[in-house]
Symmetry: C2
Amino acid sequence: MEKLSIIKIGGNIIEDETSLHDFLKLFSNLEGKKILVHGGGKRATAMASKLGIESKMVNGRRITDAETLEVITMVYGGLVNKNIVAKLQAINTNAIGLTGADINSIKSDKRPVKEVDFGFVGDVKEVASNSINKLLQADFTPVFCAITHDGKGQLLNTNADTISSQVAIGMSKLYETSIYYCFELNGVLQDFSDTNSVIKLINSKKYLELLNDGIIANGMLPKLENCFDALKNGVHQVKMGNTSMLTKENDNFTTITL
Amino acid sequence: MEKLSIIKIGGNIIEDETSLHDFLKLFSNLEGKKILVHGGGKRATAMASKLGIESKMVNGRRITDAETLEVITMVYGGLVNKNIVAKLQAINTNAIGLTGADINSIKSDKRPVKEVDFGFVGDVKEVASNSINKLLQADFTPVFCAITHDGKGQLLNTNADTISSQVAIGMSKLYETSIYYCFELNGVLQDFSDTNSVIKLINSKKYLELLNDGIIANGMLPKLENCFDALKNGVHQVKMGNTSMLTKENDNFTTITL
């Protein structure tokens, strides 16, 4: 099976011109078929604030009312996505920027209202792996932003980590798929106060140990649940660390397997 | 040679929910391969104004400084483009939204500064017809907004009429290409005060007559120059009128041929 790498970058890279530039070079040099996924929450919050729209968060998730969705569509789908695409073109990566509405690539359901009404937020239902594969086979490099659609004309805001894992699960039918979550840390840490205490390998057994010992908690908990969900659904491996894990020089990151 | 239709819509359609909805249904029902091109100037002006950015125009063309380019990227590439794509998906058209940076489809040169510094405005240099054709061959329907790039990482603002004609010229190597310019009028008018005085056919000879008689002037002049430029460079025909020219019921529009 041919290999496919899905790389997710967060706000810390997008916000900083130099970090973004350096990352895009690493991404561009990465061999084989690949897909980039990005968010842009901080940029969206800043733009919303300029427009006098208050950003409401519940448990770290954005409440997406109609005007917030407009801002997200402008910032994720336009400003961030198209600038990344233009920058990749400049370094010989034939990028194509996408929301889940484009080629009907990621369909989702508007999240039902329970205790919290998240507004125009989508939970992924279906990934059009064959359509995405047509782009890969044409040697285009998809760049997804954190927007999906419901198939009925409505764009929806979907977490970029979720998009990465759901696209990876979908593509696993066709490729040996790896996810690379690039973030601020060097990896999953044994001791949160020691940035170098990277746990290099986490498998199912180790995961349970770490859970029992309370090493994995707070923000890391949903991230790792997300990883194991992907692995159980056909994804080959997940790597977490800073962007230098994309180079061969750095082996100080976390690899997660079943 | 297989047929390809390139349809350009202006602000009057984009601004109005009902008009847009009705147009997208007509577009969706159009047989054969097709490409949609849209602007969004009024929306961009409104958004710029909300952000306290003054829109500067010279001879009807926008001066695109760095912050205006950001607004354009957000509004054309994000808000307008992705909502059109989502709406087309809802009516069974497998749309894909593009700027000229995506798949390096439209490369342009930043306009040199002469009497006026237009800022980040691009004059089209190269259309990647083979790459665009890969999307058409995959049964995707490209939806272009009025943004190109210079190939060095810079997005540029390019007039949507120009994008339509340049893409049409590029695609004429591969398809019998027709351009449909949808606008407020029923077509090119013999008498500007009579909206029904549509000139049904304009060829090179008729064009010279109309020029001599002063029938074609002001805003129509660059539009028709643009049409004849396209026709001289391989485009099969150009049609100008309101959106109902996409139906078989209406034959009250202007057809332009060499």
